[in-house]
Chain length 235, copies 2
DNA sequence: CGAGGGTTTGAAGTGCATCAAATAGTGTGG
DNA sequence: CCACACTATTTGATGCACTTCAAACCCTCG
């Protein structure tokens, strides 16, 4: 079961059997309800996680009690592995925001695998490289896109690939309040921004499900000022 | 000469001689004037750079002609290495913003070294991990700090370590316009923000040199809402 | 059905951007 | 060494996007 999940993931796919075995033998699959805190910023941590299903919020807590969202990630993503290069601490917290099934693996397995198996080190580099690109885009988005445009970008990235088909219906994967925070705005701004996006692109909003009659209109409105060329690809 | 520069850098220090030799034999030291474009976004690139002296701006160009600053980096930093995991392209451009001495190394050297030398892969991971932390903090800063606070944070990180000494005079490493962009604000906002910071912390501004009578005041004003604990360390 | 959180809406405030113009600073050629 | 040209920076006035505060609405779940 666990092995099956692992080999479907880019990071573990097509590894030689002994290496894969090292991970799978120590991995545990677990279900976690909404609200569960998995990592606590600056606290020692000796495991990392692979998301099988669900959504996880990564965030930083500040001295005055507020929080800054770093990312909200779902299946195929790994998190907590940064502790490896940070004295077994993570510089952020992680919380379940939608019921999730996670694979938890002792980080020392990853540590020795990186040292002993060049292929693992290489894959780790690819993971980090992808993350870097993701964060670069996020910074750019905050810099140059306004609220409705960031929302449009968010919606487009939720659309199943290939994007070509018209009339896509999707439903928001987690609370609007959290989407707002993820996009660096307040819940009220998100609400109003979505309304403005509707004016421009004829999307239809019913609670948490959204119907997009024309992706091209969203693209014209959202991507015109971006450095990425549509489609943005998997990030 | 080149070897001496390399071994002073965290990434190349204490490597075994043959490995170091592979890099140094193919490395070239060059001086580049302000304004020189070193990397162009989405253009094939087969070298990466180590900054010896000077400052380099990494940025993304958007379809409508504006640009978003990803980072502005100086000595000991590496850039362009991301092409390795991106089909020999970089997803950003790089420009010299202060006269710089750079070491340029063919990226295939790095590529084979990563594959053949576990130690190199490991160091690469550390570099990327550090970069990740840097970007996470940047995102947080944009989220929760206002303009004067981001300026304060920027100034504090310019201060020589250890920070304890009072009455530090430093001078801004590059144009105020660029610092503004780096901090995600306009030049006018930077100017006014610096003035506001002065009200709160008694810093003294003379052109591009700034005297800080009390680091504690800046810290109180700037770091109170941050997730990092002062001092922020080397990032 | 009712409590409590998520979401929307309205009104008012704030911070930053924009536009415009003045000032300071820098490098150039004479 | 000076005057000019050009850029960087500052300052002022105004506008807009987003936030804040407050209240209503809605939805879900016990």
């Amino acid at each position: 079961m666990i092995t099956e999940i692992l080999i479907k993931n880019r990071f573990f796919k097509d590894l030689d059997t002994p290496t894969l075995e090292k991970f799978s033998s120590q991995a545990r699959l677990m279900s976690q309800p909404k609200g569960m805190l998995l990592l606590s910023q600056d606290t020692p941590c000796d495991s990392f996680y692979l998301i099988h299903t669900g959504w996880i919020k990564l965030f930083k807590q500040t001295l005055d009690g507020s929080e800054a969202i770093i990312d909200v990630i779902n299946d195929t993503h790994i998190f907590g592995e940064t502790a490896l290069f940070n004295d077994h601490h993570n510089s952020f917290s992680a919380e379940v925001v939608e019921p999730s099934e996670l694979i938890i693996i002792p980080i020392h397995i990853l540590e020795t695998a990186i040292h002993d198996t060049p292929e693992i080190a290489l894959r780790m580099l690819k993971v980090m490289s992808k993350h870097r690109k993701r964060q670069d885009i996020e910074l750019e988005n905050r810099d140059i896109k306004n609220a409705p445009q960031r929302i449009g970008c968010f919606l487009m990235r939720l659309c199943p690939y290939p994007y070509e088909k018209d009339r896509i219906t999707l439903h928001l994967p987690y609370d609007k309040t959290l989407i707002a925070a993820r996009l660096g705005m307040k819940a009220e701004t998100f609400s109003r921004g979505l309304a403005k996006l509707k004016e421009h692109t004829d999307i239809c909003i019913k609670g948490s499900s959204i119907t997009i009659p024309s992706l091209r209109k969203i693209k014209d409105y959202t991507c015109a000022i971006c450095s990425m060329t549509y489609p943005c690809g998997d990030l």
